[in-house]
Amino acid sequence: MTTVDGEIRLLANCVVGLGFSAAGFRRGLERHPHLVGCDAGSADFGPGFLGTGRDSKSPISVRRDLRIMIEGAHEVGCPVVIGSCGGAGARSQLLGTADIVQDILRARGIKANVALVHADLDRSLLHTAVDEGRTRPLGMFPDLTHDDVEASVNIVAMMGAGPITKALDAGADIVLAGRCADPAIYAAQAMRLGAPAHLAWHASKCIDKGYLATTEPSAGSLVLATIRADHFDVEPTKEGARCTVATVARTAMYENADPFLIRQPSGDIDVTEARYEQIGDAVRVRGSAFRPASPSVKLEGARLAGYRSILLVGMRDPRVLARLDEFLERYEGLLHRIARSLDIAQGDYRILFRSFGRNAVLGDIEPAVDHVPNEIGLVVDVVARTQEIAGAIVGRAAPTGSRLDVVGGVGSGGNFAYPFSPSSMHLGPVHEWSVWHVMDVRDESEPFSVELVEA
């Protein structure tokens, strides 16, 4: 280690824009961390944020969280690294976060070097990789084609420690990274300061979900990793918070298909032999390994699937609910007939009924389908080639379904209770993952670029 006291201390937060304990952060600062880090993104909530380029969190929340972290890090003189800025880590989101950071620096009179690490993929690089057979799908996704690349509105690569190391080496006080592997936020600085790769990576993996490594995530404690020669400790920084062997070990295995081998662009974090020991409110960890591999980066791309309009209604009549399948089948037929009457081609839209209270969550694996629900929330979900087409079909869905008489006697009454006015909602573009692949690269930093900006 190249630090004065032979320790490397990494102060970790959970997600920018989800809040955290300011008091816990202050106590973390008292430990003089060598880095303040926080993730800002996730692909878990779908491709919509990558597709639209919109930020997934409220700018009001993002500003609060960033301000506290930037001021604190400036006070103790350590860098701040924010990963996957704006949710998906695409250019527009990175620039949006940079604007907020510049505002904070101006308002507080802080001079700082800011680095933006761009993760948007140059399509020609990806076309070449497809030609050279250097891409492979994850899970059930099909092989990547040139058409998939061209159909994508945005494609990002997920960076490891390499590009963040470059930004820190260039003198950045604040590193705003595009799409980024969570542990890389911390591992880059740890390795710059001389931590061995296995300790740097595993410690980073244990803290990269912030307060999720504590027994009470809702308390919003940050967590501090202290790396020493042959082990690291993970501890909460908020008074009264606690890390346990279970909470720390679980965090490192969370969100991975294989809990023992956690893939990073430069190799695998292997926690098969890791040993965890409870020491007060902290956990001491040793025994993991890092297995370098030929470099590869994960790619995420989004394509436009259409535009969505929905109708949300309540259904309560037990006679209709007892015959819901028949009701929905006839309802769908009527909506198709209306579409034909409007000269809308069948290939230009699709209709999906989501019956909340029955099987909207689990679909065809729902085990409890034998009883008639008390009530359901029915979402008539239409995705069409244009917003106008989706709106036209959904606009006819309310009267058509409300008057559809499967039991006799609806007459001038209706099947639907409307909670909202207007009852139709036009939700805009819908995206799908077009790219969910891994690309082999010569150098893990190759797809990324570091831009230093004045502040």
């Binding site: 692909a43 878990d44 909530f45 779908g46 491709p47 799908p137 994850l138 899970g139 059930m140 996704f141 062997v245 279970a246 070990a249 679980r250 295995m253 969370y254 969100e255 991975n256 298909a257 294989d258 809990p259 023992f260 890791a274 040993r275 965890y276 699937a305 259409g306 969505r308 699709r350 999906l352 989501r354 909207a360 969550v361 689990l362 679909g363 065809d364 694996i365 729902e366 085990p367 995705v383 819908v430 799908e432 993952w433 969910w436």
Partner: protein, 102 residues
């Protein structure tokens, strides 16, 4: 016979990226874990049917330090498409709860 929800302390699910779903089951002790593990492994086809996947694609990992077992399966459909029901996969564990554990 006891069911999984009675034997295990934690049963939960989440995405492991958009291509995979993972199910984490934690028990209080090694003995309970052994029972759960045996029950899950006794009929992988039945397990796959509950999770809506194919037995050949199921991976099971036992984590002794946590008395836990992780099940990983590829998502049934390309994840997060326009017909997605549960983007983050957090409610997909429900069909496991009444699995019989001898």
């Amino acid at each position: 016979m006891a069911t999984l929800v009675e034997v295990a302390r934690i049963v939960k699910s989440a995405n492991a990226g958009a291509a995979w779903l993972t199910f984490d089951i934690e028990c209080d002790d090694a003995q309970a874990l052994a029972r759960v593990s045996a029950a899950l492994r006794s009929d992988l086809d039945a397990l796959a049917a509950r999770l809506g996947g194919a037995a050949a694609h199921i991976s099971l990992f036992e984590i002794g330090a946590l008395n836990s077992i992780k099940i990983s399966v590829p998502r049934r459909h390309p994840a997060c498409g326009q017909d997605e029901r549960d983007f983050d996969g957090l409610q997909q564990f429900i069909p496991l709860l009444d699995l019989e554990v001898p």
